[in-house]
Amino acid sequence: MSALGIRAGYRRRVRFRGANNLVLVLCGVVLAAIAVCVVLGSVIAPQDPNAVNLQIALQGPSLAHLFGTDATGRDIFSRVLAGARPSILGPILIAVGATGLGTLIGVAAAWKRGVSDALLSRGMEILFAFPGLLMAMMAVAILGRGLTAPVVALTIANTPWVARIIRSVALRERSLPYVAALTVQGFSGFTICVRHVLPNISRTIWAQLALTFTYGMTDLLAINFLGLGVQPPTPDWGVLVNEGQDSILQGAPWETLFASVFIVLTIVAATALSARLGEEQTSVRGRA
């Protein structure tokens, strides 16, 4: 009887994991396709993404123009492909920067505890009062439009969220017996952190990387949408959504629609990946 029960439970778990793997494979395929666009976007684009032709403005999808044409007759499919690079590279910079800094601060705070930990935590609490989008807008006000100001600001804004998660995971890791054993053997704190603790919490770090990517992308593209970041004619996806706004009112939503599909696919895939890696390690961050 009990063997049967175990078998049933086992099978249920396997099926669940199978469904999860399917989602993971789908996400991988989407992200791989986006990565190809980032590297080769403007090369594989069938037409010049900036070639204006007013005679074919605002056409719907057709074989000649898969995603239709925009208000000045540019091929939307080519523009979306060419736009992958500016849309993805900024968020990657934010994710790598914030995760790197956050891991450094989080592990250091967990290791030192005491005054420096308290100081770091206080500092973080003040940073929390500035949502990423507000910080990015203030940075643009100070440094001017372009990609630099919002990328730097969003890196800083996302760092404390990563640091908080990493700190809690590192604290838990620190209390495990293997750390005490290594300390007794005379290994330095630095060696223990780099050689043992970091590899053991790497899953959480990867999950934070993917999650920060999605938050960075949402905020950065919002800045571009608002016209404060990347400037036209660069076909960034946020810029495309904004440019398509007038065409929507004329009954041709294609530019906004297809750029949106690429944005949402990327974010959903990265979120699913992060959830799979980090399970419950998600945290509240402002979204725009």
């Binding site: 009062a129 989008l133 100070i142 404060l228 906004t256 979120t271």
Partner: protein, 302 residues
């Protein structure tokens, strides 16, 4: 007390940003427009530009506390006069949006946790999509579907009169709320599921309490605490997210004012709106602490 510290530090950062901008503070304040000697002297006196930073800051803060943020260089009016007519729009927008987040988010999450099967699955899938749609994308898609195709809602503007204004702000608040509803929904679901597994719930059921009572008194009340804390942060961040929807829907609110001020380098307005956003964050945080203390007597306010 802690909130006051946050606002003070934030005000130093916001004031200091004037000095981080390239060029002199005068260039930042006047957006690089040529100024005559008289205006320059007025500005120097107004901001104490020749005094040390600390004196300048205290001077600025003293004015700011009394609601005086200087003059907008784009509108040639006091910053307060520029902001005043726009406060109502943002306030209604954020209030409607918060209600949506709290009601729809908590309801969908609780239903997903308590009712398994197709309804629960549908909610989980909808949440996954809602989390992936940025506000600006949601805004334009809602305009395309409900305003342009179906003609159910107006495309632009804030409307006049309260009822009309609520009508005009329905789509914007849905667009702004979407991601947060999904997030709070997911969080509520996890919280309720966690609470359902606890021993005190089993005990209550074993004592023979009706299921409805167990859920209401023992599960939902306890599950509400982490969700309330998270809702506070989410709502506080909505104030800034409003900038995106207000721009997308051409509403005259504080958020769209912030965006247009940045585009036109109107520094006094940028400072004032940023400070209001941080202030809102701290006030909402305090309200959340009060609510949590009411929900759980073990939590005390400092």
């Amino acid at each position: 007390m802690h909130g006051v510290v946050v606002v003070l530090v934030a005000s130093v950062v916001i004031f200091g940003s004037l000095f981080l901008a390239p060029g002199s503070p005068i260039t930042a304040l006047t957006a690089g427009r040529p100024v005559d000697a008289h205006t320059r002297a007025l500005l120097e006196a107004r901001y104490d530009l020749n005094a040390p930073f600390v004196v300048q800051y205290v001077h600025w803060l003293g004015h700011a506390v009394r609601g005086d943020f200087g003059t907008s260089y784009v509108e040639s009016e006091s910053v307060t006069a520029v902001m005043a007519p726009r406060i109502a729009t943002t306030l209604i927008l954020v209030t409607m949006c918060s209600l949506l987040v709290i009601v729809a988010g908590m309801l969908s999450g609780a239903v997903a946790a308590l009712k398994r099967g197709p309804i629960g699955t549908a909610i989980v899938v909808a949440e996954a999509i809602g989390l992936g749609v940025p506000t600006f994308v949601a805004s334009l898609l809602l305009i395309a579907i409900f305003s342009v195709q179906l003609h159910w809602f107006p495309v632009f503007g804030s409307g006049s009169g309260f009822i009309d204004e609520v009508w005009h702000l329905t789509l914007p608040s849905v667009a702004l709320a979407l991601g947060s509803v999904a997030y709070i929904g997911r969080l509520t679901q996890a919280s309720v599921e966690g609470e359902l597994r606890k021993e005190h719930v089993t005990t209550a059921t074993a004592r023979g309490l009706p299921r409805g009572r167990v859920i209401r008194r023992h599960v939902l009340r306890n599950a509400a605490i982490p969700v309330t804390t998270a809702s506070g942060i989410v709502i506080a961040y909505l104030v800034v997210g409003a900038a995106v929807v207000e721009t997308a829907f051409s509403l005259n609110g504080l958020g769209s004012l912030l965006v247009s001020s940045i585009a036109q380098d109107d520094f006094p307005v940028i400072q004032a709106v940023s400070l209001v956003a941080v202030l809102a964050f701290v006030v909402i945080g305090f309200v959340v602490d009060v609510i949590c203390a009411r929900l759980d007597p073990r939590i005390t306010l400092e």
